[in-house]
């Protein structure tokens, strides 16, 4: 800490508390609903205190209770989600790092064209290209495969853009020194740029992992076997649309379970931010 200002610290805590209250409130409601009975959740207003059915609800969800509408086991769906999320996040970060490196540290014909080509992909609504994209994937024989689930989602303008922004802030002296030492560009990339990008990579991994984990529409289209469904589809299938009664307590319990892996990633990756803080302190 630079200086002590108790009033300011108090204010900071106050703002954070309000922020947490507002931002995390829906998550809290989800949790509360997951501990009550279906009838309790439907009451107006529903109680904001945790109910007494926590263990019962979660057991029913995990073991695939008969009236939940989720005949596929949660475990299998979580596995598919995990693979999808990992491939998408690692793939996105890898190819984006490489292309941002190329765009920032090299001069070559068509440099800006390449950058804009990547960048413009940010602006294509999924619904518009979803049918043609499906045809491409079907043509490549990738339906019902992890490749089909992930490849079309791997291209990332966001990540490329972020790394470009970050590389611009890296002092030129570092590259200069590397060049004088006769280090190859890839060596510079590996030994200097990558370690420096740690915080950004961690932030991006969190975001992309969650993005991959929460995919809904695309998996729904490219898979025709329910054993390739990620957990989000499983949850949606439990929410009765219109005609039947929805067992909100079980839906919320599954939603809480589905949130655990991304939450774990958030907590895990925070170490990297903290590390960034410690490094900066030196």
């Amino acid at each position: 800490m630079i200086e002590r200002r108790p009033m300011l610290d108090l204010l900071a805590h106050l703002i954070l508390l309000i922020g947490v209250l507002l931002v995390a409130f829906p998550v809290y409601v989800t949790f509360v609903a997951s501990t009550q009975t279906a009838a309790e959740v439907q009451q107006a207003p529903m109680s904001l205190l945790p109910g007494s059915h926590l263990i019962e609800n979660y057991t029913q969800v995990i073991t695939g209770g008969s009236n939940t509408g989720s005949s596929a086991p949660v475990g299998r769906m979580m596995w598919v989600s995990l693979i999808t999320a990992l491939v998408i996040s690692i793939g996105k970060i890898s190819i984006s790092l490489l292309s941002a490196f190329a765009v920032v540290y090299f001069r070559f014909p068509g440099r800006m064209l390449c950058f804009w080509m990547i960048f413009v992909t940010l602006m294509l609504p999924v619904e518009v290209r979803i049918s043609p994209t499906y045809q491409v994937v079907a043509g490549l024989g990738l339906l019902n495969s992890y490749a089909g689930l992930t490849l079309p989602l791997i291209a990332s303008a966001t990540a490329t853009f972020l790394f470009r922004q970050f590389f611009m802030t890296v002092p030129d002296e570092l590259a200069e020194a590397a060049r004088i030492d006769g280090a190859s560009p890839m060596r510079f990339f590996r030994d200097i740029l990558l370690p420096l990008s740690r915080t950004s990579i961690a932030a991006l991994f969190v975001i992309q992992f969650i993005y991959g984990w929460n995919q809904y529409l695309w998996p729904l289209l490219v898979t025709t076997q329910e054993d390739m469904y990620p957990v989000v589809i499983g949850i949606r299938r439990m929410i009765a649309g219109g005609d039947a009664a929805t067992e909100w307590n079980l839906v919320m319990a599954t939603a809480m379970l589905a949130m655990l892996p991304p939450a774990a990633v958030v907590v895990l990756m925070q170490r990297w931010f903290v590390k960034g803080l410690v490094d900066a302190e030196k």
Binding site: P45, M117, M123, P125, A155, F166, F188, T199, P262
Partner: protein
């Protein structure tokens, strides 16, 4: 920070003619196969009038576009979208920056705050909107009942302003954690030594923020500004579909929701493709403007 970085140029560059293309290849191949090819199809489709299965189609030139611009509902959607995107992007950024600066300041319970603030991002969009609807449902929602208790008659089903507010709140909520995460990462990469030096020189917290922190955050802010505008333009249809379905009376039907409504739900592919071409043009212009006017001023 570095004057040589003006206009996105690095002073020091590596030589190599093949290497940069090799580095770009994986990204470009995926982009071309999974984005440009489908996009070209969308462009072609915007000049067609065809049935859902694509069995019979007729070339109609720009007719899909002229039809669009002659409907008052579509034109009203432009104003709505401008207001919506501004509201979502600005409030999302301001709230997230405030929280990130505060979270970066405190020591006690810092991890708990951060986790709780990022966690909501893990809620799947497909579920987030259902959740908010659950809270604001005029008949049974907890928040709606609480508002009624303090004398606000919450009925977003008929009150257009409340419906607008509801979709803005939901959209901002979904994006706040994202913005928070990047601001926090940005704040933590600011060297402590700079701030300490300024503090020794007698600069107070606000002055340090204004003269050191915020300028150093500007690449992050610019990145987030672009991402948030695009988010507001393109990624909010699911929220709107679940919360208001564009209603009441079309008062929350932003441009992207109309694309979704006509194309995905209504299977009018020609009109929907034309609408997305219009949408893409708008965002491209916006982004180029952002790059020209803001990126130059951003300090690297």
């Amino acid at each position: 920070m570095n004057t040589s970085a003006v206009a996105g140029q690095k002073r020091v560059v590596f030589s190599g003619l093949v290497l940069p293309y090799l580095l770009l290849a994986p990204q470009l191949i995926i982009t071309v196969v999974f984005f440009f090819w489908p996009a070209a199809q969308a462009l072609w489709q915007s000049t067609q009038m065809q049935d859902a299965f694509g069995i019979g189609s007729e070339f109609v030139g720009l007719e899909n576009f002229t039809t669009l611009f002659s409907t008052p509902e579509y034109l009203a959607s432009f104003r709505l979208t401008a207001a919506f995107s501004t509201a979502v992007a600005v409030s999302g950024l301001v709230i997230a920056l405030l929280l990130a600066v505060m979270a970066n300041r405190v020591i006690r319970a810092a991890t708990a705050y951060k986790t709780l603030l990022i966690w909501p991002y893990a809620v799947a969009p497909a579920i987030a909107a259902v959740l908010w609807l659950f809270l604001f449902s005029p008949a049974v929602g907890i928040l709606a009942l609480a508002l009624r208790h303090v004398g606000v008659d919450w009925n977003h089903l008929l009150n257009g302003d409340q419906a607008f507010l509801l979709v803005v709140i939901t959209s901002v909520w979904k994006q706040v954690s994202y913005n928070f995460l990047f601001f926090l990462a940005g704040l933590q990469s600011i060297p402590r030594s700079l701030l300490e030096a300024a503090a020794i020189d007698g600069a107070g917290p606000w002055r340090r923020f204004r003269t050191i922190v915020f300028p150093l955050l500007s690449p992050t802010t610019f990145f987030l500004l672009v991402v948030n505008v695009i988010y507001a333009f393109f990624d909010t249809f699911a929220v709107i579909d679940a919360a208001t379905q564009g209603g009441p009376g079309g008062q929350t039907a932003v441009l992207v929701y109309k694309v979704y409504q006509d194309g995905f739900k209504g299977l009018d592919f020609g009109s929907s493709a034309a609408q997305s071409v219009v949408l893409m043009l708008i965002v491209t212009v916006l982004t180029v403007m952002q790059f020209r006017f803001i990126d130059r001023r951003v300090q690297y």
